[in-house]
């Protein structure tokens, strides 16, 4: 009798543990097999696209989705994908991947970069680079209109005269990057800035507009360029490679969920630069969450229903 009860208790305990740990946690879509895990970095653009992909997958299939958000850099999300923690990354920029993942620099012709990255990712890492979303995000130096007029600035080379006395805010990731980072920038353009402040990319535009910085290095897609009326300086020596944006998916995930390919292909070229800037602006300036912006946008376009191919 006593033994019987003890046995029952143990059985109950064991089954509870297995239920709770074995097949994922209900309501969190954590570890079950039909969950597509989407990695996204901590930039606005990435989080919007992660939400877009999540909502597209949920709209067109029965798959569960989980977003792994706030990753620090493209390298972190790449590692996550390589380990299988994530099945796809919401946005990868082919120029960045060539420099930081493949360690190849020098090539700045967009078509060649695209070709090399696509092939290397397929062969080396078994990941598929999808066609571009339709926008390229590139680093661009920007100044206020007033500062540009005062010093007669149009291109990055024009900065040479004033650079030693300038305070410049830059993306903290860019600071130590090999290939297209600050070190190589100094070599190529032949000057360095007086003081450089590495900061979170989302903060640079405000710092520039409020006069705390003389120039900043920001993303060309950011909506705040328009709202603060910032002046972009042309990269006249073509230092920055093109960063065409697309989704990158593990081949294993594509094999597991064949329907993914069709769903993601619906997004090809649907996000021209102006659209992306507008979406970014809604998040950065209008207090809307990326997921909300994505939902409104997809509803407005009817989830790209008619682009079956």
């Amino acid at each position: 009798m006593r033994k019987h009860k003890l046995f029952k208790l143990t059985l109950l305990f064991l089954s509870l543990v297995t239920v709770l740990s074995g097949c994922g946690f209900p309501g969190l879509s954590s570890s079950s097999k039909d969950t597509v895990k989407i990695a996204a970095q901590n930039t606005t653009e990435q989080q919007i696209m992660a939400a877009v992909i999540q909502q597209m997958i949920e709209h067109y299939s029965d798959l569960n989705t989980a977003v792994i958000s706030n990753l620090g850099s493209g390298t972190v999300s790449f590692q996550a994908q390589k380990r299988g923690d994530a099945d796809l990354t919401a946005i990868r920029y082919n120029g960045t991947d060539m420099q930081t993942i493949l360690n190849e620099s020098g090539e700045t012709d967009p078509a060649k970069v695209d070709q090399i990255v696509r092939k290397e990712f397929k062969d080396k890492y078994h990941m598929t680079y999808f066609p571009s979303y339709g926008f390229a995000d590139t680093y661009q130096f920007m100044v206020t209109q007033k500062f540009a007029k005062e010093h007669n600035l149009n291109t990055v080379s024009d900065l040479k005269e004033v650079a030693p006395s300038m305070k410049v805010g830059i993306d903290q990731i860019w600071m130590n990057r090999k290939g297209d980072g600050y070190d190589d920038f100094q070599k190529q353009y032949g000057f360095s800035f007086g003081r450089v402040y590495p900061m979170q990319i989302g903060l640079v535009y405000n710092a520039l507009a409020s006069g705390k910085m003389d120039a900043v290095l920001g993303y060309s897609t950011d909506g705040r360029i328009g709202s603060y009326n910032l002046k972009l300086l042309k990269d006249d020596l073509h230092y920055f490679p093109p960063y065409e944006a697309s989704v990158v998916v593990n081949d294993s995930a594509l094999k597991r969920h064949p329907q993914l390919k069709g769903i993601l292909r619906r997004l090809d070229g649907k996000f021209p630069l102006k659209t992306m800037q507008k979406l970014n602006y809604q998040v950065d300036n209008n207090l809307q969450e990326p997921a909300v912006v994505a939902r409104n946008f997809l509803k407005q376009h009817n989830y790209f229903e008619r682009s079956d191919d």
Partner: protein, 222 residues
């Protein structure tokens, strides 16, 4: 947006992202609850065990104490090495932190049960399981509840940090606020619900704790 003050921005934010906040709120709550539940499943039997074999108690509580001293961000990173990014890492982290209050309180509750009552039970011919089920657990339930309450409040705080490994939850909103231009309102929109959740969890479990307290129960029956 710049023309509004923080409170107006906050109201505007909730009006436009209400559903999203609600989603993150429930996600945050589930992560915390799962961690604490797992810890309870493991911790309560351990507590009962070390109350019976007192020699083990020093060791077990010592180990749980050491776990508690590891900073939560460090713990999260260590577990991430093994489990990778995502929500499971956070649940396991919460599990480890919730262990100590649960084990310690179960142990204390069991040890403080009056020996006379135990003897009376034995004298009535109860088996060990019956003593445990009918005397020890009911009498220590309120102390165990207090442990769960501590654990859950702790867990809600830790889950907020979980955003760093991509688990989601209200911490996501807070982090986004720190990245956004004039993100003050967004930070509040993430922080206030987190605090609210902790307070509610504390009140609700506090209520149960009182309910299970043997002294108040007796008073009601009288």
């Amino acid at each position: 947006m710049q023309s509004m003050n923080v409170l107006e921005q906050l109201a505007y934010y909730f009006a436009h992202n209400g559903m999203y906040v609600l989603e993150q709120f429930s996600r945050h709550f589930l992560i915390s609850i799962y961690g604490v539940l797992l810890a309870a499943i493991v911790g309560i039997p351990i507590g009962i065990l070390i109350a019976r074999y007192r020699k083990l108690s020093g060791w077990v509580i010592g180990i749980a104490n050491v776990i508690q001293t590891i900073p939560s961000l460090a713990m999260l990173s260590i577990i991430m090495l093994g489990l990778g990014l995502g929500v499971n890492t956070v649940i396991v982290t919460v599990f480890f932190y919730a262990l100590l209050p649960i084990i310690k309180n179960t142990y204390t509750g069991m040890v403080n049960v009056n020996r006379d009552v135990l003897d009376a039970g034995k004298g009535m011919g109860m088996t060990r399981i019956q003593v445990l089920r009918l005397i020890e657990i009911p009498l220590s339930l309120s102390v165990i509840m207090a442990g769960l309450r501590n654990a859950l409040v702790l867990a809600i705080g830790i889950t907020a940090i979980g955003s760093f490994v991509g688990a989601g939850g209200l911490g996501d909103i807070i982090i986004r606020g720190t990245n956004a231009t004039n993100g003050g309102a967004i930070i509040l929109a993430g922080a206030l619900p987190t605090a609210l959740m902790a307070i509610i969890a504390d009140l609700v479990l506090g209520f149960f704790e009182k309910r299970f307290d043997p002294s108040t129960r007796k008073a009601k029956q009288a």
